[in-house]
Each structure stands twice: as structure tokens, then as C-alpha cells.
């Protein structure tokens, strides 16, 4: 393992090398310090019920845990970041498998879990060709695993659900881990996660302020056209500004390309949200679980990130590339 690779994987001293990381971390800390005051003032002013107040505080407490779960690994090093992404993949898949009933199909679930483990290894190893190969290979294995019970009835359903699960929570989310193979991964990941979460909040606020026409009433009755457009209008320039500093003086650093990336984050993020709404509505559920007090399940919180990860990865990869100049096949690169 080269010195550069070791520093990228475990070098927490580089945590604040990039100013965007500093700004975003400070913003997060400030928001967490201000939020209690805002909650107190708002609940007093609106004379909220104790249930409403409890829900807000639950949400706040959960946000602190979530922020720590996101911030600490990213700042600590790429190794921890990749493990955190793998944990997120497993937790998301677990919830998905339980709400769809796929968890009862032990063989398929086992193959998906093995697939996610191998993906994580390919990311840690910075072996992008293995990462790419694992998608069709795992799909093939799922198709084979579905044969094992020798029950053709329901074959398409269990294999289809397995493939969708692996595609969304393994391959798509795995792109977040792959970004950690870039030397400057910290501001990139923080910016994306920040923008996606802000995008949700902007859509919520704008929906309340200017939301009149329903957007997709059957999928998600609370979403409005105003909310969706408002989120795009606010997230896009903010993200483009951050991205300008992250990819300063690269091929991506033109106004059109930066705004294009901002639009992708906002639009695809909202589609991710709608995707989970559709899944839940199809199953007749409100939340995917009750793991996070005040939020619901892990999927309810991270739904927007799932589709954004591959979209941003490949957009950036097209213009500048990820992990340029980084050691490849860190563990498997030995020659006989």
C-alpha cells in the first residue's frame, strides 16, 4: 500500500485540508447549536401540542446521531467512509427486504448480502472493473439462486425483487463509496449529502409557501409542483456554488456544467423520494420501520440519496473522473 493510499484511507489529519469541508462541517455544527433555540421559539410561538413538541425533539436528537454517523467516518478517512456506506447499504436492504417480504427468501437475500460485501471489497481495493463486473454477476447469481427451491411459482417476483434490491442498495449506493477513492472525497460527499437533505427541506418549505397544484397525488399527496420547482430553484445554485470550489479549475468548472450537476442533484433527489413513496404506497405502509425516532426507517431518511449517487458519480466521472492518479487494486494488485 502506497503512502498516499494509506493517508487517504486512514489519514484523519487531512480531515480539514479542503475549505469546503471546513465550511460544511461548521455549518452543520452551527445548525445543531441553533436548532434547539429555534425549536423552543417556534413551539412557544405556535403554542404547539406536547405531541408535536416531542416529535420535533425526537427528530432533533435523531439528526444528531445521523450527523455523527455521516460526519465522523467521512472526516476520519476513506476506509471508514466506505464501511459506513456499506453499513447504510445493508440497513437499507434489510428494511427493503422486510417490507417487501423478500427476507423470507433466504437464498436470494444471502446472495444480495454477499454481493454487497464483494462490492464493498472492490471499492476498498479501488478495483473499479470488479465493481462494474459485480452487477451482472450478482444478477446472474440471483437468477440462479431463485431456482434452488425448485418452485417456479413466484420465481419472477423473488428474483425481480432481489435484483431491484441489489441494484438500488448495492450498486447505486455503492457509487457513494466509490467516490471515497478520490483523494478529495470529503468535500464531495459532504456537499452531496448536504444538498440532498437541504433539497428535501426546501421542497417541504416551498410546498408550504407556494404549493397549490398537486404534483403526483396518487404517489405522494403532500407533494406540490411549487415545492418541487422551489427546491430545484434553491438547491441548484447552492450546489453549483459548492461544486465550483470543490472542482475548482477543472473541466467541470463552467457555469453550465455546474448548474447541470445542481439540477441533477435536485431533480434526481426528488425522484428518489417519490420512488420510496411508490414502494411504500404499493405495500400500504407509512414508514419503512421505526428505527429512527421521529423519522421512521433508514430508507425514509436516505431515500433521496440512492438515485443521486450513481447520477452524480457518472456525471462527474464523464468530465473530470474519480480517483484520478490513485493506486488501483490496492490489495489484489500483486503480480506473480
Amino acid at each position: 500500500m502506497s503512502e498516499v493510499t494509506r493517508e487517504r484511507l486512514f489519514g484523519f489529519r487531512h480531515a480539514f485540508d479542503d475549505r469546503v469541508t471546513v465550511v460544511l462541517t461548521l455549518t452543520a455544527v452551527t445548525l445543531f447549536l441553533l436548532a434547539p433555540v429555534l425549536i423552543l421559539v417556534a413551539t412557544r410561538a405556535a403554542n404547539s401540542s406536547s405531541d408535536k413538541r416531542k416529535e420535533l425533539w425526537d427528530r432533533y436528537r435523531s439528526w444528531i446521531w445521523l450527523a455523527l454517523f455521516i460526519l465522523i467516518p467521512i472526516l476520519a478517512g476513506a476506509f471508514w467512509t466506505i464501511l459506513a456506506v456499506a453499513t447504510l447499504s445493508f440497513l437499507c436492504y434489510r428494511e427493503y427486504a422486510r417490507i417487501t417480504g423478500l427476507f423470507r427468501e433466504r437464498t436470494i437475500s444471502f446472495i444480495v448480502v454477499i454481493g454487497i460485501l464483494l462490492l464493498t471489497f472492490s471499492i476498498l481495493d479501488n478495483w473499479y472493473r470488479l465493481f462494474v463486473a459485480l452487477f451482472p454477476l450478482t444478477v446472474a447469481l440471483i437468477a440462479i439462486g431463485g431456482l434452488i427451491p425448485d418452485q417456479p411459482k413466484g420465481y419472477i417476483q423473488r428474483v425481480g425483487l432481489g435484483v431491484l434490491g441489489f441494484a438500488l442498495f448495492g450498486s447505486a449506493l455503492g457509487n457513494l463509496g466509490n467516490m471515497a477513492n478520490d483523494w478529495n472525497y470529503r468535500p464531495i460527499l459532504l456537499l452531496i449529502i448536504f444538498a440532498v437533505e437541504l433539497n428535501d427541506i426546501f421542497a417541504y418549505i416551498c410546498g408550504h409557501l407556494f404549493g397549490r397544484r398537486k404534483f403526483v397525488p396518487n404517489t405522494s399527496p403532500n407533494k406540490t409542483v411549487g415545492g418541487a420547482l422551489g427546491a430545484i430553484a434553491l438547491t441548484t445554485p447552492l450546489f453549483a456554488l459548492g461544486a465550483h470550489f470543490v472542482w475548482f479549475d477543472t473541466a467541470l468548472d463552467t457555469p453550465v456544467r455546474l448548474l447541470g450537476l445542481g439540477i441533477i442533484v435536485s431533480v434526481v433527489g426528488q425522484f428518489g423520494d417519490l420512488m420510496l413513496s411508490s414502494i411504500k404506497r404499493d405495500l400500504g405502509l407509512k414508514d419503512t420501520s421505526k428505527l429512527i425516532p421521529g423519522h421512521g426507517g433508514i430508507l425514509d431518511r436516505f431515500d433521496s440519496l440512492i438515485l443521486v449517487a450513481p447520477a452524480v458519480f457518472h456525471y462527474v466521472n464523464y468530465f473530470v473522473g474519480f480517483a484520478v492518479g490513485q493506486q488501483q487494486q490496492i490489495f489484489t494488485g500483486w503480480k506473480i
Partner: protein
């Protein structure tokens, strides 16, 4: 194509600690691995420390649903019965354990659920709906219940009369009840001891009993309890004599 028949987990919408205490709990991949690991270890433990011998294992039905009903005088009883099951059976085997002992705190309920796959039975205020939930689970999930119809551990080692609850689970269904006689667990770990001492344990498995034609009412339940009780008594008697 088959109509869509995959259902969300029955415990969807419960918080983790509610889930561990719920009889609607369904295990995931990791939990199944944990039960398998736990019972495989217990199997070796019983083989080494208690020279566990099992008579009549071939009488167990090939698959669930069925109920294993045994005499109860030690915490080792449920573990010995669980260890006697094949890995295929174990996946769906649920020891029914006293809520006030095994599910009182978060720690114990997490352990009981993850390691033992136990389901709680609340002895103080268990209404008929608790048994109705278990009855439903037994049939719907093709489950295997390990139950002790005496309702508590015998403090003397001799068997006490069986309670009606067993009847409420199986009356008017074709779920077989397999009577089981355990010998040696009282000497190994009586209620007042904290740690087991080595000593031979014997498990005798009887022929499955069906109660499809017995009415699902008080007299039917009592008839079922009596019938299973006399079968277990016979098994213990025969094993002692052998």
C-alpha cells in the same frame, strides 16, 4: 403468473424493543444465523456435559406446524428440546418462554429473541388474544412451538397437572402435538441453582397426537391437556424403567 403473494414482515412498524417482545416477530438472515449458531453450540454442550440421548426422534413430523409439549423442571428443558431439533426444524422453532423471566428487561428480551428465538407468554395478564395470536402464528407460519403446559418449573422434580393453554392452541386444528419426556434436567439445573452441573439427560419423543375433532372450548381444552399429560407421564415412566 402467480398473484403477488409476498407480504411485509408481520412485525413491520414496531420499534426494535417492541419487536423483540412481539409474538408476530419474524427473523431475518442474521437472526437466523444467530439461532443456528446458538443451538449448534448448545447441541455440543448437551452432548459433552449431559450425554444427551434422544429416543424416538424419527417420530417428529417432517415439517411444521407442530407443538412439542414437555414436562418442565429446569431452564435446560427448552434448550435441550431446541438442541434436539434438526437444523431444518430449528429455523421455525420458537420456545414459548415466561415473559416475566425472559422478556422483562431490554437486555433479556434481546437475548431471548436473537439467540433463542423465544416468544413471550405473559403469565399474569395473558388474555385469550395472546393465545389467539400464537394459534394464528402456528398455522400461518408453519411454526414449531416448544411449550411446557405445566406453566412453571416444577420445584420438586415431579410433574404438575397440564394447563388448558395447550388446548387453546391446537383444538379443532390438524396441528399435531408431540409429547416429550425429559429426564435428568431437574438434577442438572433445578430452579434454585444458578449454574448447571454435569449429569445425563434423556429425551423421549412420543407419537404425534391430533386434536382436529376436539371442540375448541373449555371441556375440549381440558381433554387435550389431560391426554397430552398422560402421554408425557407414560414416556417418562417408560424411560425411567428402561
Amino acid at each position: 403468473m402467480e398473484p403477488w403473494n409476498l407480504q411485509p414482515a408481520h412485525d413491520t412498524g414496531l420499534t426494535p424493543s417492541e419487536r423483540f417482545r412481539s409474538v408476530r416477530r419474524e427473523s431475518g438472515l442474521l437472526e437466523s444465523l444467530a439461532h443456528h449458531a446458538c443451538f449448534s453450540l448448545l447441541r455440543s454442550y448437551f452432548a459433552i456435559a449431559h450425554r444427551l440421548t434422544i429416543v424416538g426422534r424419527e417420530k417428529l413430523p417432517a415439517h411444521g406446524p407442530f407443538v412439542l409439549a414437555a414436562n418442565h423442571c429446569s431452564h435446560l428443558d427448552a434448550l435441550a428440546l431446541g438442541a434436539a431439533l434438526t437444523p431444518r426444524h430449528r429455523e421455525r422453532a420458537f420456545p414459548i418462554a415466561a415473559g416475566d423471566v425472559f422478556f422483562q428487561t431490554k437486555m433479556t428480551s434481546t437475548f431471548s429473541a436473537i439467540m433463542l428465538n423465544a416468544l413471550p407468554m405473559w403469565r399474569k395478564n395473558c388474555g385469550p388474544h395472546a393465545l389467539a395470536d400464537l394459534r394464528l402464528k402456528l398455522q400461518e407460519e408453519k411454526a414449531i412451538f416448544i411449550i411446557f403446559p405445566e406453566g412453571r418449573r416444577s420445584r420438586t422434580g415431579s410433574m404438575m397437572p397440564f394447563k388448558h393453554g395447550l388446548g387453546m392452541l391446537v383444538a379443532e386444528t390438524n396441528v399435531p402435538v408431540v409429547p416429550c419426556g425429559l429426564i435428568g434436567t431437574f438434577d442438572a439445573l433445578p430452579a434454585e441453582r444458578n449454574f448447571p452441573r454435569p449429569g445425563a439427560i434423556k429425551l423421549a419423543i412420543g407419537n404425534p397426537l391430533q386434536f382436529g375433532s376436539i371442540a375448541n372450548d373449555r371441556s375440549g381444552w381440558s381433554q387435550i391437556a389431560k391426554s397430552v399429560e398422560s402421554n408425557v407421564r407414560d414416556l417418562i415412566g417408560q424411560s425411567r424403567a428402561a
